[in-house]
Amino acid sequence: MSASLLATAVEQIPAATGVGAKAWLLVALPALSSAVLFLAGRRANTWGHLLGCASVVGAFAVGVALFAQALSAAPDQRTTELPLFSWISVGALHVDFALRLDPLSLAFVLLITGVGSLIHIYSIGYMAPHGQASGAGHSDPSRRRFFAQLNLFVTAMLLLVLGNNFVLLYLGWEGVGLASYLLIGFYQDRPSAATAAKKAFLMNRVGDVGLALAIFLLWTHLGTVQYSQVFARVGQLTPGVLFAVCALMLLGACGKSGQFPLQAWLPDAMEGPTPVSALIHAATMVTAGVYLVARCNPIYDASANGRLIVTLVGVITLLIGAIIGCAYDDIKKVLAYSTVSQIGYMMLGVGLGPAGYALGLMHLYTHGFFKAGLFLGAGSVMHGMNDDVDMRHYGGLRAYMPITFYTFLAGYLALIGFPFLSGYYSKDVIIEAAAAQPGWRGLVMGGAAMLAAGLTAFYMTRLVLMTFFGEKRWQNLRGVDGKEYHPHESPAVMTVPMIILAVGSVGAGFLLQLNHALASWLTPTVGELRESEGGLIPPSLVGVGTLLLSAAGVLIAYLLIGRRPTPVVRPEPVSWPVRAARRDLYANAINEALIARPGIWLCRALVYLDNKGVDGLVNGTAALLGGGSGQLRRLQTGFVRSYALGMLGGGVLIIAALLILRFGIQS
């Protein structure tokens, strides 16, 4: 049925009715709340956070209602559009401010507002002005600003997934980038936070250029920027243009999702408050690249090479992330590289095309639960540990923060793919589908994905052991603020969201794969999930192999870390692979050497040139004509004549250039 649905994809999509006609509330609620919080000033300090939470919970309620309505409709009736107003209209170009409600966007709406609500609530506790026991971050009086920016993020993210055209997608795309910039740089007095924020925005803009150019290409060749029209006309594109569009969109996806070669900003983004890391830099925003590929499935379906580069990026990134994750001692950075790696799995999944769209999205969903849970757990640990992030200072914390420990454990087991937990259902199927690709591709992709699964088990076990088990290393240490550590459990406003996410980490995978629930829900948008076959490795072996490699990872971590005391200061010197991993596999060094430093040099050279060269030419001619620069008396007339001459010279040059160009072209 779905095949025929795709084949006859119509350009006209029915208008949303019932609850669907109220879908604008999804965006309006957090937007309004954000505006109020930004403008209200100090007056809102006492109730601002409550408004912030209420708006997102309200949006979640609208999302659930929309979902229920869609569920009650027949699968091919679930896609509707809600036009709001005409945004940009010039000549043949029409960009509407219109929402597209379909299984894909609704799935994202539930994830964004659902996990978003939990993290907003958690933030009430995490960002609360706090007494003695807390570090600098918690005593920040600007909780209102935090909620304003977090609401802004939710607004932009919802627009990103709900837009019915590429320009609205771009609005959300850069909007979440802005929210991310603001929130990474939230602790404004820290220079490192400001630098990380700027880096994130700039690397994202590199990706944005790709996305923008892809939109321009589609407009040039198809004369529209609206999804339904673009997708219906994909057949008009030549293979070259198709591949270019796929590659440019992938560049955009790499920027937003922290994929190779634009991954270096995501770990630095951990400068932001931990709830931000959980919501924006783990569960939702960074998965926008996966959304983009899945949303553009008719385009990627038409280009085998386009899909291939997506899978390659995914494979490279999942390995890079897993390798670097093993080397860091900063709990948030380990989780950040884990996110990089897991999104690599998602990209690999959606890069497989019809055999993987639903799988990639499934992993996106389960990852949203367990990684958000893990980050909230890390935040809870930091909350009780004077905002310290160095795991070498932790140890034996499970007795002091039991709820944090057990919820974290659930997320951990889900992530490493412990049988029947979420990650097991979502990650392993991607590995199996990748390994089932014909020929060398299956071997390379499947092999890399299995290896990374082993590494994932290693670094996550290392993290859990260093944090919750072993010696209480913090007893003999003092925090950066000079205070002793008094680890304690976080308040209920923080632990309840963690518990809910832990339940999700355990059960979501099972529920979503039951009768292929998620895959068949997504079928009207991304097509039916096809079985992959033809791999060189037998599928049964892949499953068992992944489990064995993961078990090996856990065991090695236990032998290396669990059975030995952990040094409080990280050991030096270390072997070259560890050195390389600690330096992010030299990604930053390469960026620095290839882009940053030449850029600064070029910038300085140009400033010099502009002052001394272009302007100097004018002033220099002035001096000559005025009879030498030393003759101050004649400076006044010198100015006049010299400028005149300079301008004349410039004019003559331009005329000459024009004539050369003019006659050069003709002859």
């Binding site: 010039v90 043949a92 400001a194 924020a197 700027k198 400033v607 100015f639 004349l648």
Partner: protein
């Protein structure tokens, strides 16, 4: 002939205001209030003009609100006024900006011996010449206003500017006069050409000259085009004719800087669309590659230079040069979308750069320094000012949701089908825009309190001892925005967001006129276009 006196009133009102304000030398407050009254009256009149303009009639009526009387019969010059959608939105921009500029200059400290009356009179005089330059439909009249607008601006910079004001003013004047003289050659050339081809003799009437364009051979068109083009390229300015702007922008008082960069320079891009393209279509098409090269060169070159500036006002000037590159790209890429984008860009740039300039000015007032390196960590001291600056900066880097995005997007998507290579380079320019805005924001506003200007403002215990925690312990004389300052900025913020999400009413006014310009150039849209 049915005369409409509305444009004449718009032209005369600020001129009268200028004369009325000038004598109030002893009473600054009265001078400023009177000037503000005139500016608000002009805003009201402009609103009347806006609503008198019929979008539906614009499809087959090139100019509306026309007024036409003979001026110097011997030369066939006339005082002919009229607006199309493009000129109308520029008039609206001027009318909105002048009261804001007056408001932002309300508490300015003037140089020794200068009075607010002088400043306000010159500002209103500038406004009058600007209205004239956009409303003229007679080429000679346009030329007269084009030259005339230099004079009040020259005196504003030279009398009310910064330490190097004399140097900057003379440089500005000479560059512009030279461009004007070259243009005069072409204006006369147009007359000669028309005299030889029209039975009724020579004319300066824009409409008559446009109808004649098809009969003028390409070689003649190229020479005449160049005269206009060089004048406009200096005024816009395009790299490499830009070096007067950073000096003028840096030395001009903030309010004048807003008008200079926000409106005065738009005369050039307006001129490209009104004069270069319709009067010399063949030349425009054959020389487009050169303009496109200069445009993208400007986007990248000025973008990098902006990032390298230490003077905040020079920084804003360089960002503007980069933005002018986008406008010129859109004009010489010949598509309805790019044209409309460029026109909207002219309006939006006036608003966003105006706001950026004003925010910079408010910071300079507090720190008494224009140097970026004299500041640091200011957001802890003045969070509202920091937010305002960032907002203006984000609008400047064309973040979606702000007005600039709509225009930049239209320019780029409209230019891409015909000129993919230049458009790709220009699109890369958006990375530089993000770089220079966020880099300056980081240096000035983020991190711990630092920099000479900030540290000098610290008072109370611990001021010198603990600079890193200055925000917590020591007090600073840096105060956040006053109510008056917020009132100046609020309309700009509202406009930026309003035009970011609802550009429709403005685009509706622009669209018929850019469609007419497309027909005059004689090209069809590369995407979705019909043959003209």
């Amino acid at each position: 002939m049915n005369q409409n006196y509305l444009l004449l009133a718009l032209l005369v009102l600020p001129a009268v205001g200028s004369v009325a304000v000038a004598p109030l030398r002893t009473n600054d407050r009265a001078a400023k209030s009177l000037a503000m009254a005139f500016a608000l009256l002009e805003l009201g009149l402009t609103a009347v003009a806006w609503f008198s303009y019929s979008v539906s009639a614009a499809a087959n009526q090139r100019f509306q609100l026309t007024f036409d009387v003979p001026w110097i019969p011997a030369f066939g010059t006339r005082i002919a006024l009229g607006v199309d959608g493009i000129a109308l939105v520029m008039l609206a921009l001027i009318a909105v900006l002048v009261p804001i500029v007056l408001g932002s200059s309300w508490t300015d400290r003037l140089p020794e011996g200068r009075t607010a009356a002088g400043f306000c009179a010159l500002l209103l005089a500038t406004q009058a010449t600007l209205v004239g330059v956009f409303a003229a439909t007679d080429v000679f009249l346009f030329y007269v206003f084009f030259e005339a607008m230099l004079v009040p601006m020259y005196f504003i910079i030279g009398r009310f500017g910064g330490p190097k004001r004399q140097y900057a003013a003379v440089k500005f004047f000479l560059y512009s006069v030279l461009g004007g003289l070259i243009m005069l050659g072409s204006v006369i050339g147009l007359y000669v050409v028309s005299a030889g081809r029209l039975p009724s003799g020579g004319t300066f009437s824009w409409a008559a000259l446009r109808d004649l364009a098809a009969q003028v051979p390409q070689s003649v068109q190229i020479w005449l085009f160049l005269g206009f083009f060089i004048a406009f390229a200096i005024k816009a300015p395009l790299v490499p004719l830009h070096t007067w702007l950073p000096d003028a922008g840096a030395e001009a008082p903030i309010g004048a800087g807003v008008l200079l960069v926000g409106v005065l320079d738009k005369v050039a891009t307006f001129g490209f669309l009104r004069y270069c393209l319709p009067l010399f279509p063949l030349a425009s098409k054959s020389l487009a590659p050169l303009v496109l090269v200069l445009s993208v060169l400007g986007i990248i070159y000025a973008g990098l230079l902006a990032a390298g500036q230490d003077d905040m006002k020079r920084f804003v000037s360089y960002t503007s040069i980069a933005h002018f590159g986008f406008i010129a790209l859109g004009i010489f890429a010949f598509s309805t979308q790019a044209f409309a984008g460029s026109v909207l860009y002219m309006v939006n740039h006036g608003i966003t750069t105006g706001m950026l300039f004003i925010a910079v000015g408010m910071l300079i007032t507090r720190g008494n320094s224009r140097l970026i390196s004299d500041y640091g960590g200011v957001s802890a001291l003045t969070p509202v000012l920091a937010g305002t600056f960032l907002f203006a900066g984000l609008a400047s880097l064309a973040l979606p949701g702000t007005n600039s995005f709509v225009s930049e997007f239209l320019v780029l998507i409209g230019s891409f089908p015909r000129e993919p290579v230049y458009t790709i380079i220009a699109t890369v320019g958006i990375i530089f825009a993000a770089l220079y805005v966020l880099w300056v924001y980081q240096q000035v506003f983020q991190g711990p309190a630092r920099g000479n200007a900030v540290m000098a403002s610290m008072i109370g215990p611990g001021a010198v001892a603990a600079p890193s925690s200055a925000a917590g312990t020591a007090k600073s004389s840096f105060s956040d925005l006053t109510r008056g300052e917020i009132m100046v900025l609020a309309p700009l913020i509202a406009l930026i967001l309003l035009l970011g999400f609802f550009p429709g009413p403005v685009l509706d006014v622009i669209n018929p006129s850019v469609a007419a310009t497309m027909r005059e150039v004689g090209l069809a849209d590369p995407v979705g276009g019909m043959t003209p």
